[in-house]
């Protein structure tokens, strides 16, 4: 079996195991046969109404964040880039909170108003961060981009705080949402996020070879025949669609987009033809497991899943940064 075949087999198997664990473990243990045998009405209810949508949503959000993280990293040639470190998640949050705050519901968009605003926020932040980083330092060094992301992220964070301070009755809803969670969302959220997930992933997948070329720099990619301007725009939009829709349904969940692509590259190499789909599977698995831990570790209470991901993600971030700097120093 080739290395690639092993990579896909392992990743998909891990995802299936993660789904099974996520569905069966909890305050009530659900046996696996409930899936096809609805003799136990309570178990069946918990499975289909609560656990399954939660697990699937965690999977979709994790997959979205991981694949867009992989794409941002490739595009910016920056292993520390992800929707969270770039401030894109914060932008998406601002978009979403504005919708909640003003109670906006645009005609035609209806239930999609929130994710669409969230995506617009994500895209706007992305372009601002990259534009500002380029203004500061034409060569767009790794640190420049991350620092710019932090600047924009903090600014947008304070905008959020301001809006929360001005809110009264919506307060709890917004804060709960901001902490990042996939609980109690139901099937409605899945149907809302799924089309954006498919479109965004497909856009990024279309650019898998272009991302490989861009790892050698935009100039090199240009020489290899890549229409850099158009492709870059496509990748930024694809990444923003995924980040925006993920944030819209689950709030800001950090570091999934950083950890997953990094681990995937470490294990299977950095060819984007495989990094993108593998990150998708592994991101889904990771967030399902993290969510499982978040809701069981201090049961009956629940931790926001963002706490768990940050707990894993921050050390990994530090490790990558250390390794990159050491590499640069040599």
């Amino acid at each position: 079996m080739s290395k690639t075949a092993i990579a896909y087999t392992v990743s998909i198997a891990t995802l299936l195991v993660a789904i099974w664990l996520g569905v069966s473990i909890g305050t009530v243990k659900i046996p696996i046969e409930t899936l096809w045998n609805d003799a136990d009405a309570t178990a069946s209810n918990i499975l289909w109404k609560i656990r399954m949508p939660r697990v699937l949503l965690a999977g979709i959000v994790g997959a979205s964040l991981a694949i867009s993280g992989a794409a941002f990293q490739g595009l910016l040639k920056n292993p520390l880039a992800d929707p969270y470190t770039l401030g894109v998640s914060s932008g998406a949050s601002v978009g979403a909170v504005i919708t909640l705050f003003f109670g906006i519901s645009l005609p035609f968009l209806g239930a999609f108003t929130l994710p669409v605003f969230s995506m617009v926020g994500a895209a706007a932040t992305m372009f601002l961060v990259i534009g500002f980083a380029r203004l500061v330092d034409r060569s767009m060094k790794m640190e420049t981009i991350i620092l710019t992301g932090i600047i924009f992220g903090s600014f947008l964070g304070s905008v959020l705080s301001l809006m929360i301070a001005l809110t009264q009755e919506e307060l709890r809803q917004i804060i709960g949402w901001l902490l990042g969670s996939v609980s109690m969302r139901g099937w409605k959220y899945i149907t809302m996020v799924l089309p954006f997930f498919i479109i965004g992933s497909f856009i990024l997948w279309l650019n898998r070879r272009e991302l490989n070329a861009m790892l050698f720099g935009e100039e090199r990619a240009h020489h290899l025949g890549v229409n850099v301007k158009r492709r870059k725009m496509m990748i930024l939009i694809g990444g923003s669609v995924l980040t925006g829709s993920a944030v819209a349904v689950s709030g800001t969940i950090g570091f999934v987009g950083l950890v997953v692509p990094h681990m995937t590259r470490l294990m299977w190499g950095s060819d984007h033809r495989h990094v993108l789909p593998l990150s998708l599977f592994n991101g889904a698995s990771l967030l399902i497991i993290c969510d499982l831990v978040a809701r069981t570790i201090i049961s009956p209470a629940e931790l926001p899943v963002g706490v768990i991901t940050a707990f894993i993600g921050a050390p990994v971030f530090a490790y990558i940064f250390y390794k990159q700097r050491r590499k640069g120093a040599m």
Partner: protein, 490 residues
């Protein structure tokens, strides 16, 4: 193949490149040279479409460059970048495979046999096949650059643009890389345009050179037409001298440093020539510019120690060079610093004299063995047997000689030697006519390159007169010593 007409452009409002025109034929290698900031890299970036042009026209294969889509353009033009670091690792084969990007079209475009073939061929050609699964960052700089050459070759474009491709490479890798590119250009008819930093490398590997100054073309033509002392001096504002390459009809240039150090004045005198047990030696304080037909370190160079070794009549050796080197080492003479000749005459028969004129002085040392005397005009009648006997002539000049003067000094010395043999009636034993020399004569001219400038050394000049008279007198004396010694033996 590639036609550039009146192209201008650059980064800001003020164009860096101004009205540059040239064309390159299929299979031709054009080098772009120029000082830092002369616009050579900018020109390349305008041609490859990285920078927009503000005026002019680039035509590729008969079609305007702007009429191509990005992918079509990449199928016509491949670019080899300067070496730089990468944040992520790719295997060698994946990196080379990216060169096939412009040939892959459609949504699910898969890897075709033709893609695989082109990649394998490019890797074989650059000798990186054995690394194909290695991540590129584990390779050395030279090997990495070969991977990118392979990537550009896999692109199978008829035009290859290079921007200082040998930057940061050691000389072995520089040679390897440029040999590869040059050979590809000639075998496959690839048109190459390359920016060079090193004038000598460019002159060696390019069919034509384009010299840029302040964004404009200062000169264009063959290396012989462009690498001229005047041209380089005015464009680079550096003092240089050009010389021919030892193996190829290409010019090479050397910097003439402008050092403020005081050089110590010295003179060669008669007393500097010392007679040892089995050789004559002169050791100068500083290296002398030397031209000779010696056994060890013949040709042109700078040397401090000069040896004329006397060997026995029955000396026989298959590898004279290494035997002589061992001999020099046994006396602690440095091989790199020493010119050495051999004679069958005992060192005490050397004739050394000093001659003075207004410009300065010369020292001449001659050993003569004429058992092997030959009339050069009859030499074609002789059978080549291992004859014993040779005339070794040393001329040390306290002065600053031009290259012409070295050549003229050699002519003058040879004529004087022949005249001495004639007056002494030295006979070629085979033809019974007057001999002109022996069949193994050696001549050495060495000068201090200090003091009076001596541009010529023919008999019309003071130096020529001195050499003529000196060599004649020394040779006559040496012939007398030789005959005397022979009489004593008999």
């Amino acid at each position: 193949m590639l036609q550039v007409d009146e192209v201008s452009g650059g980064y800001g409002k003020e164009p860096v490149v101004r009205g540059v025109s040239f064309h390159v034929e299929k299979g031709e290698v054009l080098g772009i040279l120029g000082p830092n900031g002369s616009g050579k890299s900018t020109l390349l970036k305008i041609i490859s479409g990285i920078l927009p042009k503000q005026g002019g026209k680039v035509t590729i294969d008969g079609k305007s460059a702007s009429a191509y889509t990005q992918k079509q353009f990449a199928r016509k033009v491949a670019v080899l970048p300067q070496l730089h670091a990468h944040a992520f690792s790719h295997s060698v084969k994946d990196t080379v495979g990216l060169g096939r990007y412009p040939h892959q079209t459609g949504l699910f475009s898969s890897w075709s046999d033709q893609d695989e073939l082109a990649v394998q061929e490019a890797m074989n050609y650059t000798g990186i096949t054995r690394y194909e699964d290695t991540p590129i960052e584990l390779l050395s700089g030279g090997e990495q650059q070969r991977v990118f050459v392979a990537q550009a070759l896999a692109q199978e474009a008829p035009i290859l643009l290079l921007d200082e491709p040998t930057n940061h490479l050691d000389i072995a890798h520089q040679q390897q890389l440029l040999d590869t590119i040059r050979n590809q250009a000639h075998q496959k008819g690839i048109t190459v345009v390359s920016v060079f930093h090193d004038i000598n490398l460019a002159a060696l590997y390019c069919d034509r050179l384009l010299l840029m100054k302040n964004g404009e073309v200062a000169a264009i033509g063959t290396p012989q037409e462009v690498v001229l002392e005047q041209e380089i001096r005015s464009v680079y504002e550096a003092r240089v001298k050009t010389q021919p390459h030892p193996e190829m009809p290409k010019p090479q240039m050397t910097l003439l440093p402008d050092l403020k150090e005081e050089t110590e004045q010295f003179r060669i005198m008669k007393e500097d020539v010392k007679i040892r047990e089995d050789h004559v030696v002169l050791q100068a304080q500083q290296p002398l510019k030397t031209i000779s037909s010696a056994v060890h370190n013949a040709g042109m160079g700078w040397y401090r120690t000069f040896i004329n070794r006397g060997v026995r009549h029955d000396y026989h050796c298959d590898d004279v060079q290494s035997e002589l080197a061992d001999y020099l080492l046994s006396y602690d003479y440095q091989l790199t610093d020493t010119v050495a000749m051999m004679t069958a005459v005992s060192p005490e028969y050397v004739n050394v004299q000093e001659f003075k004129a207004e410009f300065g002085s010369i020292v001449i040392a001659v050993t003569v063995g004429i058992g092997n005397a030959v009339d050069v005009s009859k030499a074609w009648q002789r059978e080549e047997l291992p004859y014993i006997g040779t005339i070794n002539t040393w001329i040390f000049i306290n002065g600053l000689l031009s290259e012409e003067a070295f050549v003229q000094a050699m002519i003058t010395a040879t004529e004087a030697k022949t005249k001495a043999l004639q007056d002494e009636e030295v006979i070629d034993p085979e033809s019974k006519t007057i001999a002109t020399g022996t069949s193994t004569d050696s001549l050495l001219i060495a000068s201090t390159q200090q003091g009076a400038s001596l541009p010529y050394a023919g008999p019309i000049t003071q130096l020529g007169k001195l050499i003529g008279r000196g060599v004649y007198e020394c040779t006559v004396h040496a012939i007398h010593s030789y005959r005397q010694a022979k009489d004593e033996v008999e």
